[in-house]
């Protein structure tokens, strides 16, 4: 079985890089290939300008923080953190130097006074910190983290997100992190690789990944997205395409990667928060001057109040279901801002074409 197929990835020194994908997409296999716990049938692994493809795990300058921490139950916290120190060097650190490094590593993850405890006597968050300290004590060139936050509860997870980011800035080591949680990847990373079925779909900054997804998978996995089929009418210049949606609406949009020719069918993605609903017969003044809005007649099916935002489910003339989000920030006097279309009513679905993305097929 092929878990990772023809993946080529370059992680820059000192960055926090995330592998994001659903379970079974090969992201953990990729991480284990870097750690030396799996061996590739073909291809190479280079770390810091050195080919380590044939180097066994215990000789690689990387350390892994395991998903369930893999702390040694028969050793105290201090002995867990000190475990790898004797294999450093040459010269191997002296006893006093090793003790100092253990203390420094525990200090770094803000764990004090627990040296003599056993892992079973710690909470989930404390174990996580011990696992981080154990790996960081060896000052690896790359720190690998396998779903570091998945085993923690929601509240602790958000605190540890900040913690990992702080640690990464403090030690300046390259972090390679695996996660299935798009929010985690966006919040933590300098760059993200979105993976699906053993392949890399897109590599970019969180902003690029979220705002300029290149494939339908990236668009839907990193958040909600409305997708349309569209026919390319022609190139409008400045990298823009003229498109005709299935129900006849013509828009001009910036083209993402991949050249499209007139006559091609492409897919178009717009995030729900970029969509707005307007009354069906908008007076001309309602459209801000200068912004060419795409507008599609729809029928409101559902309106869901979610506190910080309101969600509308609408159906367009072609039968496609669309999702619209609107922040409730600035709703005056406890009322929702106008317009507030109700279920069963017609409306116009509008967006600024600059917010739409043409996906690579």
């Amino acid at each position: 079985m092929t878990a990772v197929d023809a993946v080529s990835l370059a992680v820059r020194e000192g960055e926090l890089f995330s592998l994001l994908g659903p379970s079974g997409c090969g992201k953990t296999t990729l991480l284990r290939l870097v750690a030396g716990l799996e061996w590739p049938t073909s291809g190479q692994v280079w770390i810091g300008g050195r080919d380590v493809t044939r180097t066994p795990a215990h000789r690689r300058p990387v350390n892994l923080v395991f998903q369930h921490y893999a702390l040694f139950p028969h050793l105290t916290v201090a002995d867990n953190v000190a475990f790898g120190l004797r294999y450093l060097g040459p010269p191997r650190p002296r006893r006093s130097a090793a003790a100092a490094r253990v203390a420094a590593a525990l200090e770094l993850v803000r764990l004090r006074g627990l040296d003599r405890r056993y892992p079973q006597e710690l909470s989930g968050g404390e174990r996580q910190r011990v696992a981080l300290a154990r790996a960081l004590a060896l000052e690896p060139q790359v720190l690998l983290l396998d779903e570091p936050l998945a085993a923690l509860d929601q509240e602790l997870r958000q605190a540890m997100q900040l913690e990992i980011k702080r640690l990464q800035r403090a030690v300046g080591i390259t972090f390679l992190l695996v996660t299935h949680d798009q929010q985690e990847a966006l919040a933590l990373s300098d760059r993200v690789a979105v993976m699906s079925e053993g392949r890399i779909e897109q590599v970019g900054t969180p902003l690029e990944i979220f705002e300029r997804p290149e494939t339908a998978f990236v668009a839907t996995f990193t958040g909600a997205a409305n997708l349309w089929e569209a026919e390319v009418l022609g190139i409008a210049g400045h990298g823009r395409l003229r498109l005709r949606l299935a129900d006849g609406l013509e828009v001009e949009m910036p083209a993402a990667g991949g050249a499209a020719r007139a006559g091609d069918t492409v897919r178009l993605a717009v995030r729900p928060e970029k969509l707005t609903l307007r009354p069906p017969a908008s007076p001309p003044g309602a459209v801000p001057p200068g912004a060419a809005l795409a507008a599609l007649p729809v029928t409101v099916e559902e309106r869901i109040y979610q506190g910080t935002r309101t969600v509308w489910l609408v159906r367009d003339a072609a039968g496609g279901r669309r999702v619209v989000h609107r922040s409730n920030a600035g709703s005056p006097g406890g009322d929702l801002p106008e317009p507030d279309p109700q279920p069963g009513n017609p409306a116009l679905l509008c967006w600024d074409p600059r917010h739409g993305v043409v996906l690579r097929r």
Partner: protein
């Protein structure tokens, strides 16, 4: 990775519940810490439920022990039975009830005891040396589908009588036996080797008989070993030998202790193997005791020897339990892995 449901669709949740600062200290009682075990409350119902166990223990363990203690303090009758004691108080005062124990401290018998101890220790050592790699391969390297079959092969010999299997060893080891035939056939030797009725033959028989009882607890201990611990050790820089020494063996220690006890104790009392495969100078404690009852008809002496052996075994067991407790400090109060087999 199969544990994580695919998180699809749905926009990014804003981190709107961030605590003011990262919590340095966890909550006082983290949810994943097991609660302290409640003290058992002794009630009539529980006592009634334990009754069969107490009955069995009393009937099959304590009563024979008491009987044996009584016999060991008696004197041998002229025709092999027990001498009647007319005045118990005077008998106890005279110290004659210790005669058999005094006899057991003679050099001849101490020598046999020492040889038995030594043979049992050697058997245990050899079983450990063979059993650990076997259990390790079975637990960590055997393909999942084959595990049941391979484990079955370890247990299958136990289905037939130990006596028959020991007889089979006689056929293998004797001068015109299988092994000598093979060695002669390959030309490695020109004359049959005297294999049977030697200490080596007894060792082979003992190791063969006890090996499954070493492999099974070791397998149980290694099987439950978290593989990611071994990977973590390698990731932290430990070579394969260092992983074995610093992680695998320490974590398998309760299983090792269980296997050692399970092999050492029966080996100490063995008499079938040494009887069939050994010669006159490989007599073990087991043979000595059996002889007192079956041949020499000295029941008090046999009972005294048997009682001493039982006491020694119980002492060793207590020491072993103590060591196993110390070896797994993390499992405070809990029984270490592998001991449930006892």
């Amino acid at each position: 990775m199969a544990r994580h449901p695919r998180q699809n669709g749905g926009p990014a949740q804003p981190p709107d519940r961030l605590p003011a600062q990262p919590p340095d200290r966890p909550p006082a009682q983290p949810p994943d810490r097991p609660p302290a075990p409640a003290r058992p409350r002794w009630r009539l119902g529980a006592a009634a439920l334990a009754l069969p166990a107490w009955l069995a223990l009393g009937l099959f363990f304590l009563l024979p022990l008491v009987l044996m203690l009584g016999v060991s303090g008696s004197q041998r009758g002229v025709y092999g039975g027990l001498q009647p004691i007319p005045d118990l108080a005077a008998y106890l005062r005279s110290g004659a009830f210790l005669a058999s124990y005094r006899q057991s401290l003679q050099g001849l018998y101490l020598g046999i005891a020492w040889r038995s101890l030594w043979m049992a220790a050697l058997t245990t050592g050899v079983c450990l040396a063979i059993g650990f790699p076997a259990a390790y391969a079975l637990a960590l390297h055997a393909p999942r589908r084959r595990k049941g079959l391979l484990l079955g092969l370890v247990v299958v010999p136990l289905w037939s009588s130990f006596l028959i299997r020991t007889y089979a060893w006689m056929f293998i080891l004797r001068t015109e036996g299988l092994l000598n035939h093979l060695l002669l056939g390959t030309g490695l030797i020109s004359r049959p080797l005297p294999l049977l009725y030697t200490g080596g033959a007894v060792m082979a028989g003992l190791v063969y008989g006890e090996l499954p009882f070493m492999i099974l607890p070791l397998y149980a201990a290694l099987e439950r070993l978290d593989r990611s611990l071994l990977e973590a050790a390698a990731d932290l820089g430990a070579s394969r030998a260092a992983v074995l020494r610093r992680v695998t063996v320490p974590l398998a220690l309760p299983g090792i202790a269980a296997g050692v006890v399970l092999v050492f104790i029966p080996s100490l009392g063995q008499f079938v193997v040494s009887d069939l495969l050994g010669g006159a100078h490989t007599m073990l404690l087991g043979n000595l005791i059996q002889n007192q009852f079956a041949v020499a008809r000295n029941q008090p002496f046999g009972a005294a020897l048997a009682f001493e052996l039982t006491a020694a075994v119980l002492l060793l067991l207590a020491a072993g339990t103590h060591l196993a407790r110390r070896a797994s400090p993390g499992e405070a109060g809990g029984r270490p892995a592998g001991w449930e087999l006892l």
